[in-house]
Assembly symmetry: C2
Homo-oligomer: 257 residues x 2
């Protein structure tokens, strides 16, 4: 119904789309200078332009308002043209999702690279925070990837691969945590699912509009989300055994000094 919250940062520069399933690598002419851009029979890089326009509409008007005709209109092209590049609307949206997923993956990696490599719990939390942060800054991207109504997720090798890669990354983290005796539960898959469901739920509640009744800016919502994440991560984890044997000491309370 209501459009999604605005994308706070719009990344419309669509470069490096070379490796695509349905499109073989092909040399491209330089983009037409904006003044001379008028009415070229061939667009130049219509595929990329369509993805960008689709994302733009989704971000500003809401996902359900994306129509291939409107996308074509904005790209200055006939209503049938997009079907030269995408078998159907789903294929177009899937392409948008693939790009979004790549960026999401990149942010996860970056966050993990900055985290303390010796503290797997901190890494776990960092991934969760990156998830939340990315979803809040790119609600449309997140909505497209997660709600798989508009895309063909299992049909996209790229989406499936990135997804499983992220999960394995987290599971590896949790295995290390378990070995270090930092987990209350011995079932890392269970802990993994708990964390995933938590951040997924928070992010989805946001894009689904469940926080609108709070009437607070998104930044404040995110702060609250991070507090929830911290609480759950702390609850699931055991504090590091302080060199000296100190069985099950109290977890540090970070909110009540």
């Amino acid at each position: 119904m209501r459009p999604l919250p605005r994308e706070t940062t719009l990344h419309l520069e669509v470069r490096d789309l070379s490796s695509s399933k349905t499109q073989t690598m092909r040399a491209r002419r330089p983009a037409p200078s904006s003044t001379e851009a008028k009415r070229r029979y061939h667009h130049g890089d219509l595929r990329a332009a369509l993805i960008a326009e689709a994302l733009s509409i989704a971000a500003t008007e809401g996902i359900e308002k994306v129509s291939v005709r409107e996308v074509a209109r904005r790209a200055g092209v006939s209503p049938g043209a997009p079907f030269r590049h995408f078998a159907d609307k789903t294929a177009l949206m899937t392409a948008v999702a693939e790009e979004a997923m790549d960026r999401f993956r990149a942010e996860i990696d970056a966050a993990l690279a900055k985290a303390d490599a010796d503290d797997p719990i901190a890494g776990f939390r960092a991934v969760g925070r990156a998830f939340l942060s990315w979803a809040m800054r790119n609600p449309t991207h997140f909505a497209i990837i997660s709600s798989r109504q508009a895309i063909d997720f299992p049909g996209s090798q790229r989406l499936v691969n990135q997804n499983t890669a992220i999960q394995e990354l987290v599971d590896h983290l949790l295995q290390k945590a378990l070995s270090a005796g930092r987990l209350r539960s011995g079932d890392t898959r269970l802990v993994q699912l708990a964390g995933r469901a938590l951040v997924y739920g928070l992010a989805r509640m946001f894009t689904d509009g469940h926080f609108e009744s709070w009437h607070v800016p998104a930044t404040e919502v995110e702060t609250r989300m991070e507090a929830v994440l911290d609480l759950v991560v702390e609850s699931l984890a055991k504090p590091p055994s302080d060199a000296t044997t100190n069985p099950n000491p109290r977890p540090r309370s970070r909110r009540r000094p």
Copy 2:
């Protein structure tokens, strides 16, 4: 894209729709006997029939396949007829959502009534389990209520009221838990959000198709979900102080005897 997982139990008996916003209470003729039902200019109780048909389509074909024309067709009525009862498609879906929400609320209440009234943590867990159970048995209902794209949630007093009532119910539970010293965190709102986001995330992951790659029956998925819920609830809670002072004992491990 893919239709939602089938509704395992379909409740199509739509009675007691008396209190509606857009429709004043009105005496109804008895429903036509099924054999003699043929071609009556006036339907009898079209409004209820439309809601039932809309839900039926959503459950079997997927939410996005619901069209008011198809709904009208199945109700044996002209394409314009539904607009006599619902201002637009959104109003129709909102009516479906209202009914779904009422049933959801009823199940929550029932589950809580069966739970140990003296153990607020058990009550908290029971509400979570009821949420999961209901969402798994009625994925379409859940999807319609939670993903608020097809409905006007804030515009429906009934939906808003039920929603806040459920939240207050849980918050009351957590207040009792806090008073009894059963919570690790002192911020009940935070705990409440953690629990809500967790079960919401699990249920949404299910309806969004995130468990399809598991290739296991829904019952097994639900078992796993319950294990996650138990883990998190246990982690968030403190065990009851066993009469004798016993500061911070290990939580019972339910998986490794």
